[in-house]
Amino acid sequence: MKDIIEIKNLNKNYVGGTHALKDINLNIKEGEFCILLGLSGSGKTTLLRCLNRLIEPTSGEIHFDGEDIIVAEGQKLRLIRRKIGMIFQQFNLIKNLSSLTNVLTGKLGYLSLLYSLALSKNKTDVKIALGNLQRVGLKDFAENKIKNLSGGEQQRVAIARALMQNPKVILADEPVASLDPATADSVMRYLGELNKKDKITIICSLHFLSLARKYGTRVVGLKDGEIVFDGTPKEIDKKRFKEIYGEDAEAVEIR
């Protein structure tokens, strides 16, 4: 399998002096389900946001599907972004709009402003959006406002929105951190299905080792902005876990 994302010597310094990423070198293969593990503040979020330039890296190179993300500007950057879906810990949906409209916003990267104003009038797009809602088991919730949905349902709408982009890669920034264990597993199951059936590459930061073992094909451990582990989920034993999370850490199991 070829590399879909290549990261070379990536650095990020925040104003104020935090060195969030230190010379990260990482290649993600097409079709991988890559889990990022690490403490809060270890650089997971920064790394994910650098990949679609929601955060500007300080130095280094990132290639996505052969294209240089770092130098892309304007239209070119947007064309790259639309091939990278993203889901967030806080779901980041527009709360007073319906699920369907929220899913349709995933199409914005494909539309000019004029067409996007008639977003919900385009029959083909609405059909695709309804199909995506059905995939995450929310077909009957299309007209419901987001604020009337539960956390798990909201995250599934967010997945449907990402699907609308027809993405090659989905970045998931702690997608289950605000959900209860059972809901967390169901959301991860949908991501796993996209990975297996649609061959979408997934890069997902997590806190639960059990979920990493269940769904991940690869685990990358971050600590203080550096990669301290890179291997398969099976290879993470107690010793490795402590390398990532520090001496005092104990894994919390969720099933």
């Binding site: 679609n52 929601l54 947007r78 064309l79 790259i80 972004r81 639309r82 091939k83 990278i84 879906g85 993203m86 967030f88 806080q90 779901f91 980041n92 949906l93 527009i94 709360k95 007073n96 709009l97 916003t105 995933g106 199409k107 914005l108 990267g109 494909y110 539309l111 402003l113 996007s116 104003l117 977003l119 967010a158 929105r161 609308m164 982009q165």
Partner: protein, 335 residues
């Protein structure tokens, strides 16, 4: 502690004490003037105040020293210290001067009640013959308030985006625009609508149009502030998410920002209309037309039964507006 810092603190302490004691000596001379008709030249007031403050500072017992300079920790209760009694003196003397200046007179309040008999009987026995005329004037007031609000909306909507910290780029131009619009909004809002009404009643002549212009200026400033604060408090999450889909800047505004602000904007606008109806009455007094002008005329003719009629109508309309706007805003919040 740095040396220049210490100097600055010393200066602040001395200045505070100077102001305090000049104020106290000013107050005392005001009282002497009122009670004993003694005239003390203002230069003397400043000199007495300064002398006392210098003595107090030298003795190290002043308020300024207590506020700005490190003092030895003593466990003295405040009433055992000089600065404690200085504060008591300031409060006491301020109260006495205030009482005399405002001409507080409880005796008058309780014994001269029957002077207000005319207006009170007018309220309980309003002149119903004036109903139609008053209603026409009232309609004028409501419509002028409505138009003032409607005309203010586009200006405020446009300006508010440039007055929102989170949307303006952190560049020199961005900051300048932000600061200019914000300051204009603050200044124009702090000038009362009544002042604008005086200006416009000269400009376009006495009547509802002047009143509308006055309320419009005031509404633009007020709505710009409210709108932009609403924009500043939006959830940045959806904006980020829309950006991540590959949307361009305009699409991010239309889909990330606007849906989050539309219903609070409507709520603010309706609230503003409500306020404008109330203000329109006052504005009418200084030449802004409508029911306020009618009220002024009837009051000057001492036709208390007509005044009573108008007061009833104003009260009823304000009450209804208040209720309706509260209900509508409640509904908007659920949206």
């Amino acid at each position: 502690m740095k040396k220049d810092n210490k100097l600055k603190l010393n200066l602040q302490a001395i200045l505070t004490d100077l102001l305090i004691w000049i104020y106290i000596s000013g107050c005392i001379s005001f009282l002497l003037n009122r009670w004993f008709e003694v005239v003390i030249p203002s230069v003397h007031i400043v000199i007495y105040g300064s002398v006392i403050s210098i003595i107090v500072i030298m003795c190290g017992i002043s308020i300024g020293r207590k506020l700005f300079l490190p003092t030895k920790r003593t466990n003295n209760k405040w009433f055992k210290t000089f600065w404690g009694w200085s504060i008591v003196l300031i409060l006491l003397i301020t109260f006495i001067v205030g009482w005399i200046m405002v001409e507080v007179n409880p005796y008058k309040f309780f014994t001269k009640f029957k002077n207000a008999g005319g207006i009170i009987s007018g309220i309980f026995d309003p002149n119903l013959d004036l109903l139609l005329v008053s209603l026409a004037a009232l309609a004028e007031t409501i419509y002028l308030a409505l138009l003032a609000t409607i005309f203010a909306i586009p200006f405020a909507f446009f300006l508010s985006f440039f007055a929102a910290r989170n949307l303006m780029p952190k560049t020199l131009t961005g900051n300048t625009i932000y600061i200019i619009i914000r300051s204009f909004a603050t200044v124009f809002r702090s000038i009362e609508a009544i002042v604008w009404a005086i200006i416009f009643s000269v400009w376009v002549g006495i009547g509802p149009f002047a009143g509308m212009l006055a309320l419009m200026i005031h509404s633009i400033a007020a709505l710009t502030k409210l709108y932009s604060e609403q924009i500043e408090s939006i959830d940045p999450g959806p904006v980020e998410a829309i950006k991540a889909t590959g949307a361009n800047s305009l699409q991010i505004w239309v889909f990330g920002v606007v849906p989050q602000i539309i219903s609070p904007f409507l709520a603010f606008t309706i609230y503003r209309w409500d306020i404008n109806v109330r203000m329109a009455t006052i504005v009418g007094f200084v030449g802004g037309g409508g029911i306020g002008l009618l009220l002024l005329q009837q009051q000057q003719l001492l036709r208390w039964h007509n005044v009573g009629m108008i007061i009833w109508l104003i009260a009823i309309v304000v009450w209804i507006m208040d209720m309706v706007s509260a209900k509508v805003r409640e509904k908007l919040q659920e949206m």
